[in-house]
Symmetry: C2
Subunit: 403 residues, 2 copies
């Protein structure tokens, strides 16, 4: 009897992670190589609770709709896995004659895949990369990133035009970007900046230690010149001692640990600094999860690639390959082109890829040309141009003391 | 000699206010009825400073681009106008042979239009409605609202799917909507809610006094049932005494007045309440100005109507009409249809249109069917459906104490 394929989703959703699920299920049905296709409900929670759904009969129309639906249709999870969980997981898979497992997730999920495969030589596993944070190694980029990056790039460019029009009534606008450990998303905020005075003017990423004095100097200098300062700050930006700025002053629990949900956040803390130290008005925008969910900002490239990595994982399993994470390998920047590849799970499991220092400028407060070249194709930037009014001034006819 | 037409923008920008500008300029050029078309830079600031630009030669290509560009291309303003300003304004207009003035703005701008016309019988004025708040009277709705409403409806629906997938790791999500005095935008957050358990679960508008005990009860009850509570709160929500919730605890100036820029905001205050009183986790999303600027969420209907009211104002001026604000009159709900109209400026100047009580349900925490019928055509909701995974559970094969 042919073995069952199980698919599952883990970690924070993205606007396109359901496209990976749909791609995997569609490919499995097209190949007809598996006894059935099941989904784990809420990832590891579904494994431990033996909560599986049968995806074999899901219609093609539903799969196409799911590819355009945010969230994680199977349910996702952040539950930490303890050693005892693996035995239960293996027992559930054995009871259901599961021979193949495709796990859509980040570097933690890749580690889980690897452990499951090591425990059961009859289980063939494949990792499907997913994270808006873009911090998986061995792949050019990760599905989910392009759409979250596109949201932030559009939000900052468009809101930049808005506050520019209200120059006399706004001083400093701070946008907080997702990214607790890496600056991939914060950096993307500058991808649609076409002129030096366009928003954003300053970008802060966790990989570059935050220098408070330099920040205040820069804000003061830019405000004096332009009348408006647009700042983007990753939620995880850190000072030279490695302390996250956004958790300053947050309440601590009985063990002295910061309670993250009570932290004000990096943009709010920097906004307070601007008000107190420079006497300027500061407005804080914190779109948070909206940025990883908003369907209206999905990058078509991202959605297509998310589907493709899901389908490729299943095709590789059907062809006898396993123990890998599917990757995207860039073959050309212009025109942008990628091909699908695969790397051993051990090479990606638990490893985080920081934003390379060369992707920021020398001072570390603006993206470099190298980053623009890398990331612009991922958000399909070229289709998104705005206009500028370029009209001549009318000569004055009144003296200043008229009428 | 034919008199000059001046166009200007005032108040907070929207994603489509430049479409009104482009529509006005394009129509003026098409008609050829004016000596020139000038723009005031930053509204009243441009009038007082005699800073005008000549729009007569702006290319059609630029006008088309502007129609898709957020912000206010001429520059906008919130500067309060004092009595002495009118004489200066009149003198500047006279010096430049201005005979026609089309002002794009909200109810404050309509009052300014009316005053200018009263001061100078030779000046013919026309108001062009603009506000994301949708609080202008005498018009079915106001250009700018449909796009900001569409952003919020999409953001809440899409983020609702995201947190629903992470049910065990989120308790309460609060989104703050723009709207200091009216709930039109907060209400729009529920326009894409298709099932009773979809986000949002609770909506708070300034027109319904906020009842803290009922809020905490509702959150507790919904959390017990669904495991997740999605709340939308207008920034201007007020308690029974009329005090804005979002300004509680904010620092005051020497005169005891709250400093709005230092207020934490309604969603943050309610989030703190949820944590302290219910012991639940609370996540606050505050997209702020992103919601009125994001081009990716523009409603095509809204952009088309914004262009149309700009063009209609100029056409009416050329035809000898004046002293009006252009309006949108709905002639049919299904299929949605509007025609252009006009009302005396005095009927709209300085008047605010609250969200009718009948647009909320009996308890005042969710929109009514009447509001859905009114507002769904404005965001073009029908083109935006998502999918749902509907797959059968796999029968269990293990006892709970296995393996």
């Amino acid at each position: 009897m042919r073995k069952v394929l199980v698919v599952a989703q883990s970690g924070g959703p993205s606007a396109v992670v359901n496209a990976s699920l749909a791609g995997a299920v569609a490919e499995a049905r097209r190949l007809g190589a598996f006894g059935a296709v099941y989904g784990l409900v809420h990832g590891v929670e579904g494994a431990l609770g033996e909560t599986l759904v049968d995806l074999t009969q899901v219609s093609d129309a539903t799969l196409q709709e799911l590819a355009h639906t945010p969230g994680a249709a199977l349910g996702s999870t952040r539950r930490a896995i303890v050693e005892a969980d693996f035995a239960r997981w293996r027992a559930v898979f054995r009871a259901h004659e599961v021979g193949f497992f495709a796990y859509i997730g980040g570097n933690g999920s890749m580690w889980v895949c690897q452990r499951l495969a090591a425990l059961d030589p009859d289980l063939r596993v494949m990792g499907i990369p997913k994270t808006v944070d873009n911090d998986l190694t061995q792949t050019d980029h990760t599905p989910g990133y392009g759409s979250a990056a596109r949201f932030l790039a559009l939000a900052v460019r468009d809101t930049g035009r808005d506050v520019e029009a209200m120059r006399s009534f706004e001083d400093v606008v701070l946008v907080e970007a997702l990214g607790r450990n890496t600056g991939w998303l914060a950096a993307a905020a500058a991808l649609l900046k076409d002129a030096p005075d366009d928003a954003p003017h300053l970008v802060y990423v966790p990989e570059v230690p935050f220098d408070e004095a330099a920040f205040l100097d820069d804000v003061r200098r830019i405000h004096a010149r332009l009348g408006i300062v647009f700042v983007v700050v990753a939620e995880g930006v850190r000072d030279a001692a490695g302390v996250q700025i956004g958790q300053r002053g947050a309440p601590t629990d009985a063990l002295g640990r910061v309670v993250p949900s009570l932290a004000q956040g990096a943009a709010t803390i920097l906004g307070d600094l601007v008000r107190e130290r420079l006497g300027l008005r500061a407005r804080v925008l914190r779109p948070g999860l909206i940025g990883r969910a908003l369907t209206a900002c999905v990058s078509p490239t991202d959605r297509r690639e998310a589907w493709a990595v899901g389908a490729a994982a299943v095709a590789r399993l059907a062809a006898g390959e396993h123990g890998q994470m599917v990757t995207l390998e860039r073959t050309s920047d212009a025109p942008y082109a990628v091909r699908l590849g695969g790397v051993p799970l051990l090479d990606v499991a638990g490893v985080e890829k920081p934003l390379p220092r060369a992707y920021m400028d020398e001072r570390g407060t603006m993206i470099s040309e190298a980053f623009r070249q890398y990331a612009r194709p991922l958000i399909e930037a070229d289709t998104l141009a705005l206009g500028r009014l370029d009209a001549p001034l009318v000569s004055r006819r009144l003296m200043d003391h008229d009428p």
